[in-house]
């Protein structure tokens, strides 16, 4: 496959793919590494890719599975290497994040940032699969049907897992104004 053809085909989608990878990993370098693993995965199938009508959902699916597989490998290694290793793969890469573009009072900016940090921390307590459901549906707007295709599970299962993930997130955020769990 010619370099130029591959670049033209996937290049325009890389910013979107990175955005998705960053939402899943919350770490700039991990997101770029995940992006690279997707490119290495799909390149051998370039001939088929050129005939896919909607490349974006297909790439999203590859990214999701690469993310989940990577998380499982990492957990296995971390357990063997050092269960108490002071590493949190989902720790937010706060320094690289853009500040809000609207002019906000410093107190408000700080409040928002703290709120974001708490949400990111709560997201990191979810399983990889739960985190991916919240990211894809609640943050990136995937429909239930699109999620079902991406995750290779029935729509009903998507819905119940998504709701459980949300409940778990709300429990972690107990005390936040938007987090009161169900009675």
């Amino acid at each position: 496959m010619m370099k130029q053809e591959f670049d033209l085909l996937v290049g325009p989608l890389l910013p979107w793919l990175f955005r998705l990878a960053y939402r899943l990993t919350n770490h700039r370098q991990d997101a770029e590494d995940l992006l690279q693993s997707v490119l290495l995965k799909i390149y051998p199938q370039m001939r088929e890719l050129q005939h896919i009508d909607q490349l974006k959902p297909w790439l999203g699916k590859v990214l999701y599975h690469e993310f989940i597989d990577g998380q499982r490998r990492q957990k296995r290694w971390l357990q063997l290497l050092d269960p108490q290793a002071p590493r949190n793969p989902a720790a937010p890469d706060v320094e690289s994040l853009m500040p809000g573009t609207e002019a906000e009072a410093p107190d408000r900016q700080l409040e928002n940032r703290q709120c974001h940090d708490r949400i990111i921390q709560a997201m990191s307590t979810l399983s990889s699969e739960q985190r991916a459901l919240i990211v894809l549906h609640d943050m990136e707007g995937y429909t239930m049907e699109e999620l079902a295709l991406t995750l290779d599970i029935p729509t009903g299962t998507v819905k119940s897992r998504l709701h459980r993930a949300r409940q778990r997130l709300r429990l972690c955020l107990a005390g936040e104004p938007f987090s009161e769990p169900y009675v």
């Binding site: 890389l14 995965k41 390149y43 597989d69 290497l81 050092d82 998504l162």
Partner: protein, 233 residues
């Protein structure tokens, strides 16, 4: 139209927000929320959290982001093609493990309790820009709790998630039989030296094993015949 209880409404709020209720159910929930403050408040909380999730910030991408990512991909692609030509190592795609064999004995007492460190008999190749998993099998004939492990990496080699750290120390319980140590490694530059693993039992018996690492952009300077055994201690 059915009149809903608060408990029933609460259970349906996620579906209501997702627009996955039937028309009749949707209408019933809406009617209940209009007259019930606690349920309306709960709905506000759910939608507020969703708004916050959507508003989580993203890194700003540089103008050359796409070009950089494609450049990096082509470099890795080229490095992988080169590594496949060197058939004296097992070719592996990104993040696949390589099983290695060999033996090293660690004596931890007068008893027959001992652990063996299965050592590789080949050089481990690290293509630049890629992550490769090095798998080492630490075999122990008995349970050895509280063993100390020390890993020293050569210059320009690093463990994923431990950037810049050339030495790591930790404790682990070696179970009877195989104990798999999986090390995801990355070459930041030219690598042409040894990785050293030291295993120390609580009784004070130490075993050291070295494994040659080499990055893929430069041919190693030592002999590369397959099956070359490393020295045992």
């Amino acid at each position: 139209m059915t009149t809903l209880s608060c408990q029933h409404t609460m259970k349906q709020l996620d579906d209501y927000v997702d627009h996955t209720l039937s028309h009749e159910q949707d209408q019933a929930v809406r009617a209940h929320i209009e007259t019930c403050t606690p349920c309306a408040t709960r709905l506000q909380q759910i939608t507020a959290l969703q708004a916050q999730l959507k508003a989580l910030p993203l890194p700003q991408l540089e103008p050359d982001f796409t070009a950089r990512q494609l450049d990096r991909f082509w470099q890795q692609h080229q490095a992988r093609r080169l590594s496949r030509r060197w058939s004296w190592t097992v070719a592996a795609s990104l993040l696949l493990g390589i099983a290695l064999g060999g033996g090293l004995t660690l004596w931890s007492g007068a008893q027959a309790q001992h652990a063996t460190l299965a050592t590789p008999s080949e050089t481990f190749i690290l293509p630049l820009g890629e992550v490769r998993e090095l798998r080492l099998n630490v075999k122990s004939s008995d349970h050895v709790p509280g063993a100390s492990l020390s890993l020293r990496l050569p210059a320009n080699a690093e463990l994923v998630d431990y950037p810049g750290e050339q030495e790591l120390n930790w404790q682990a319980d070696l179970k009877q039989g195989s104990n798999l140590l999986i090390l995801p490694l990355r070459a930041k530059g030219n690598v042409e030296n040894e990785l050293v693993l030291v295993v120390l039992s609580p009784a004070g018996h130490q075993q050291t094993k070295a494994l040659r690492l080499a990055s893929a952009t430069k041919m190693p300077t030592w002999p590369q015949s397959p099956g070359t055994a490393l020295n045992s201690i």
